[in-house]
Every structure is written in C-alpha cells, then in structure tokens.
C-alpha cells in the first residue's frame, strides 16, 4: 500500500514519472513473461503446451505428471547434489584464492603489479570457447577428465572476481592496514582480520555470482564430464531431449525445479547482487 501511495505522490509531483513507470512495467512484464510461461507450462498436459493461440494458464494446476516424470526419468537428486557440490567448492576456492590475489593488487606494492593486473584483465577478453581445447588437453594430462575437478579448481582463479574484489579493497582506507602493521600484524593476518570482515558485502556478491554461474554452466560439464552420474543439473536435464523428440512437459518441470535455488539465492542476496553490479559496472 505504501508503494502505491508513494507512486501516487511521485506522479502528482512529477507527471512524467508516469511514463517512466509505464515503460518499466512493460519491460518488466516482457522480461518475466517467458518465466511465467515456463512455470505454467510445467503444469500443462502435452497438447496444451504449444497451442496457438498461446494458453497462458493450464487447465488445472493439479496436473503434476510432468513433475512426477521429471523426478522419475532422471536422477534429479544426484544432479542437484552435483550442482551444489560444484558450486559450494567453487565458491570457497574463489573466495580464498581470488580475494588473496585481489588484496595483493589493491594493497601491496611490487614490481610489475600493474602489468600483471592488465594480463589478468586481458583474460576476461577470451571467451571460454577459445581456451576449451587447450584446457581439455591439460585436464586429460592431469587425469581430471570425468571428474568435477575441472569445473572447480581452474575456476578458483577468476579474473572478473579478482577485478571486482580489487575495486572494493581499494575503497578500504590504507590507514586501517597501517594501524594493523604498527600493531605488528603481517600481511596475511591483516588480510584475514581487517580486510575480510570489512569486505562482507563484496564477498557476498561474489558468492552469489559464482553460484549463479556455476549452477547455469553447461559448457564445462559437457566437455569435461562423461558419465551421467557426475552431471550437474544444468546438463542433466538433457535426458529429456532425445534424438528425435523432446519431452517438453518434464523438461519444463525440471527447469522450474532447477531454478528454485537460484531464485532463493537471488531473493536472499538481492542487495548484495546490486552492490556487486554497482561496484564493477559488469553483470558478468
């Protein structure tokens, strides 16, 4: 109610805001429509899904065959576990290694710092498809193919995360570090006791972004994983895409189930997500 009241006040003071709100609503509807259709289609019988004209709502939300089939046709629990495992380990590793790296670029002085940082930024220019073949070759030699390691370890060192955390660390006054130094703290101690506590918003943003990227990653699992029991949920749902047929109902149901953790994470950490974008100007 207060939102509506505020809206009414805004419009009264500045009528052009009505136009702004109008366009915002239109674009919001456009953005949310596909997801809305996905969710409602997951409750539709197969012949309802692709009707023309489009049926936005199912006959009954009690049609749960698609969900039942999604769970019984594929080891969804296993896919979920794999996705959670990969995402969690990746977040832990990224937060540890990339934050250390960012700290050194932000607060330490050493020769060649700027050039090395430019190299790191340069890696952001390379799409994954360019490096996938040499990466696969390397993983083969390390015998890491068909394990989760290629999806976790190499991604501990993420140029974007280093950049993002560096930018945040730069905003922390040097005087805090100097005070710690005077008290006899070394670099590592300063990092863990001074920088990290002050960087919680940035670290939360990073965690969210890494979780979303990891959860939605398809290329990595496709290339590095050969066995179905190791697949994360992003690729696991391909069980519904057969050679000559796609089981759209169960596929949509599976997609809805797969999106739930992302929605939870996003809603819970929306503030940090916006901060992350604001800090770097990059959505990733």
């Amino acid at each position: 109610m207060s939102t509506i009241v505020q809206f009414a006040k805004d419009v009264r003071h500045n009528p052009t805001k009505l136009l702004t709100y109008f366009f915002l609503v239109i674009f919001s509807v456009i953005m949310i429509l596909p997801f809305f259709w996905l969710v409602t289609s997951s409750f539709k019988a197969p012949d309802e899904i692709f009707t023309v004209p489009i049926k936005w709502l199912p006959e009954s939300f009690g049609y749960l065959d698609n969900y039942e089939r999604a769970f019984t046709s594929a080891p969804f629990g296993k896919f979920y576990y794999n996705s959670l495992k990969i995402a969690t380990l990746r977040i832990i590793g990224v937060l540890f290694f990339s934050s250390l790296c960012a700290f050194s670029f932000a607060k330490l002085r050493f020769k060649g710092k700027n050039i090395i940082f430019l190299f790191i930024l340069g890696t952001l220019m390379l799409p994954a498809q360019v490096t996938i073949i040499p990466t696969y070759y390397l993983m083969t030699k390390l015998s890491w193919v068909n394990t989760h390691l290629p999806l976790i370890v190499p991604l501990f060192f993420d140029g974007f995360v280093v950049f993002m955390l560096r930018q945040f660390f730069l905003t922390i006054p040097d005087s805090l570090l100097d005070a710690a130094k005077i008290d006899g703290a070394g670099y590592l101690y300063t990092f863990f006791t001074v920088m990290i506590p002050l960087s919680k918003p940035a670290l939360a943003s990073v965690s969210m972004l890494i979780f979303i990227w990891s959860w939605n990653d398809i290329l990595g699992p496709l290339i590095f994983i050969n066995s179905q029991h190791l697949l994360p949920i992003s690729l696991g749902m391909n069980v519904f895409k057969q050679t000559h047929n796609t089981l759209y109902g169960p596929l949509f149901a599976g997609s809805v189930i797969a999106q739930i953790p992302l929605l939870i994470v996003f809603v819970a950490g929306q503030k940090y997500f916006q901060q992350g974008i604001a800090t770097t100007g990059i959505k990733g």
Partner: protein, 446 residues
C-alpha cells in the same frame, strides 16, 4: 622479506613448477598393440541399456580389454567430440551418423578400416547393409565406418487437405524448392479459409519444413520401386504404417482409444496437430509429442511417399541416413579398438539394423503379426512373455514385439560367435524365425 619466507616461497614455486612439468610429461601407459588395454567409446547417452547388453558378451570374449563408454546427449555429441579431437585426445571409437561422417572424414578424423577388414577373416562387408557401407565410403572410397542403423525420411501428406485447399499433391522426385512452394500455397489457402489459426501448433509452420529429406527405404524390401508399387496395396500400407508406429509406445495408447471410438481395424496414422504435410523419419510416421489423444485428428488419413532431397538438380543428401560405428584417427590401440568395433557392429548394432529392416518386411510379409497385436484378446496370452521381462501394466506392444524380434535375432546369430552371413541371409533367417514364433503363439492360443 625474511630468509625463512624467501626459502618457503622458492620451495613452493619449485614444487608448482615441478608438478606442472611432471604432469606435462606424463605419458599414457596404455599398451598400443594387442587385445588388451582400455578402449574409449563415445556414444549416445540413450544407448545405456544396449551398452549393458553389449558388455557382458564382449568381456567374455575379450577379458583383457576394458571398454569405457563416454555417454553424451545426441544433441551435444558433436560439440564434445570436436573439442576432444581438437585437443588430440579423441575417443578411440565413436557412434557416428551421416552428418558426422561428412564433417569428420574430410578433416582426417576417421580411420580407414579397409586394411583391418582385409586382414581379418572373421568379418567381411557382406554382413552389412551395402548401402550403409557405400555411405561410409563416400568421401574418398575408403571405408571409414560400419553401418548399424538406417533412418529413412518420408513425406506424409493428407490428400483430403490438399483437395480442400486446391493444391496439387506432392509427388516422388520433386525438389525441396517445389515442396516448399506447395507448403506456401497451402498456407496461403489455409489463411484465406481461416483454417490456419485453428489448433495449429507453431512448430508446424511450413517454413520449418527444411529438414533434409531422404529417399525412403532403399534397403532390401523397401527399394523405391517396390515401395511405390506396394503402396497401392492397402494391406501393404497398413502393415507399413503399423510397423512404423511400433516404435512409439505412446501410439499404442492412441490405438486403444481409436478402437474405443469405433475405428476398429481401420488403422490410421496420427501425427501431431492437423498438418496437411509433415516430414518425418519413416519409423516415426505416427510419432507424436502429444500422447494425450483427445485432440488428435483421427479423421485425417495420410499418404506416404518417399522424397529425395535436391537443391535444384543436385541430390545433396544420401538416400538414407545411416548411423554407424567408426574408429577415430586418434585411436590408441588399433587392435583392441578393432575388436570392440567389430563386436559392436556385428553383434550389437547389427541387431538394430535387423530391427529396422526386418520388422518392416516381416510385417508386410506376414499380416499375422498385425492381426496378433491388434487383437486385444491375445494380450493375456502374451502376458507370460512380458512377465519374464518385468512387464509394465498395461502390456506394451512394442516390448512384446521387440521380444519376438530379439528372439529371432538370437536364433539368427550363433551366441558367442560372429557368424559370417550376408545381410540378405540375415533378413531371411530373421523372417523365418519370427514366422516360427508366430506359429507357436498361434498354437498356444488354441
């Protein structure tokens, strides 16, 4: 920096460098010759059950060869394969198809197996579909794969719809451009009459009909002329249609419902939506993504003609889309890989080829099959067969039929050996075997 920290830094750096060098220098210790070691085999993730069937007899024959399957969704298989081959670590064997062959062969990724076949007395090309062999020789005359399954595409068109909209029927031999032109004419007429918006699925848009068309069944009993001749015979057409729908168990449900609506034995094809035309694999003539039959157009009767695919005058697709097994040029142990490839092609995959090519001929050679499975009174009689296979209620006709054919295949193939028989002989034996099974079931019914 203190001395201790400097030392620690140097030691850590040395360990990291040493690890990288060690890993980079790591050699694959798998043996390069002989019937031993590991063979990697990339195939469609949907083949899991067949894979299990294959492993046991193979391991019995070749206990020292370990087969590692790399399962990938068919939609992404080529992408993954390209990365693996590009990095020089491709699998030893792959499940391939015509489109893969045309990509991989010119780039030197497929191994020429002619010398292997020539040196091996236990196999020769007469055991395989000759059209399939020809397909895998198309690039440079050297054989770079063994065919396992054939997929044919046909054009289904609804004569009533064409009559209604005043468009001439499609005909055998027309080009893709002519086909699309007919599709556009249909669409225009359908829009004029207001029919276009009635229950039309978006995926039936005429512009979507750009899949490569292949001539129907140039194999065995289904050469083009035979097909054209036989399709004048309603019995043949019925059997053909019925055969095709056996590959889709959903349609068995449709069949039941059709009978409940009074269609009796008069068999009709059901395709998704009310499409006047559709191009599909011949064995999926009745395939539908919508097993719910309530909206399916029972009143539509479709006719089927084979269509080759031309661009202007030039035929750009082979008559049949073959799937096969091929050895890559990055194979690590040719001897072991050849043993797997040979076994897979002759023992495992050739069964599929038989399924694809025998069921059809058997169906139209013996209409008893049709009577048998259409007669619901017979279902309880076959329940004992399904019980052995942990049957699912209600009995699935496809499983029943496959059981019959598998039994026929077991009779054809001498267990544990690869018998040298020609492709035609395989079909003949399978047909005889199925007939014997039908006779036995007929006696049991009495």
């Amino acid at each position: 920096m203190s001395t201790r920290k400097k030392t620690l830094t140097i030691v850590v750096a040395l360990i990291l460098i040493g690890t990288m060098l060690f890993a980079a220098g790591a050699k694959d210790t798998a043996p390069k010759k002989g019937l031993q070691g590991k063979v990697t085999f990339m195939l469609d993730s949907g083949q899991v059950n067949l894979k299990k069937t294959f492993l046991e007899p193979f391991n019995k024959k070749y206990p020292d060869i370990e087969v590692e399957f790399i399962e990938v969704s068919p939609l992404e298989r080529l992408e993954k394969l390209v990365v693996m081959l590009g990095s020089g670590t491709g699998p030893d064997l792959i499940e391939t198809e015509t489109s893969y062959y045309t990509t991989l062969a010119p780039n030197g990724y497929l191994y020429d197996i002619d010398p292997l076949v020539a040196a091996d007395d236990s196999i020769d090309y007469s055991a395989f579909d000759p059209n399939g062999i020809a397909t895998f020789r198309r690039y440079d005359g050297k054989t770079r794969g063994l065919p396992i399954t054939a997929y044919n595409k046909v054009l289904l068109f609804n004569k009533k719809a064409f009559d209604r909209y005043g468009v001439e029927y499609p005909y055998y031999g027309m080009t893709m451009e002519e086909l699309l032109e007919k599709a556009r004419q249909l669409k225009v007429k359908m829009i004029e009459t207001g029919d276009f918006q009635k229950d039309m699925r978006p995926f039936c848009q005429w512009e979507v009909l750009v899949e490569p068309l292949t001539a129907a069944m140039g194999v065995g009993f289904y050469d083009v002329n035979t097909l054209k001749h036989n399709f004048d015979d309603p019995k043949i057409r019925k059997a053909f249609n019925f055969w095709a729908t056996l590959w889709n168990e959903d349609l068995m449900i449709i069949k039941e419902q059709a009978k409940a609506k009074g269609y009796g034995d008069s068999y009709k094809l059901f395709v998704q939506g009310q499409y006047p035309m559709i191009i599909e694999h011949s064995w999926m003539l009745g395939m539908t993504q919508d097993p719910d039959i309530s909206n399916l157009p029972y009143e539509y009767v479709y006719d089927v003609i084979p269509i080759p695919w031309f661009e202007g005058e030039r035929q750009v697709q082979p008559p049949i889309d073959y799937h096969g097994v091929a050895m890559t040029s990055q194979v690590k142990n040719v001897d072991a890989a050849w043993a797997v490839m040979k076994f897979a092609a002759e023992e495992w995959y050739s069964n599929e080829a038989i399924l694809a090519n025998v069921i059809g001929p058997v169906s139209y050679l013996d209409s008893e099959v049709n009577k048998m499975v259409l007669d619901e009174k017979l279902y309880p009689g076959f329940a004992h067969v399904l019980e052995q296979e942990a049957a699912v209620e209600p009995p699935q006709i496809m499983e029943l039929y496959l059981d019959i054919v598998w039994q026929a295949i077991r009779d054809v193939m001498v267990e544990g050996t690869i018998e040298k028989i020609s492709f035609d002989e395989t079909i003949r034996r399978a047909s005889e075997s199925v007939q014997a099974i039908l006779d036995r079931y007929a006696r049991e019914r009495k």
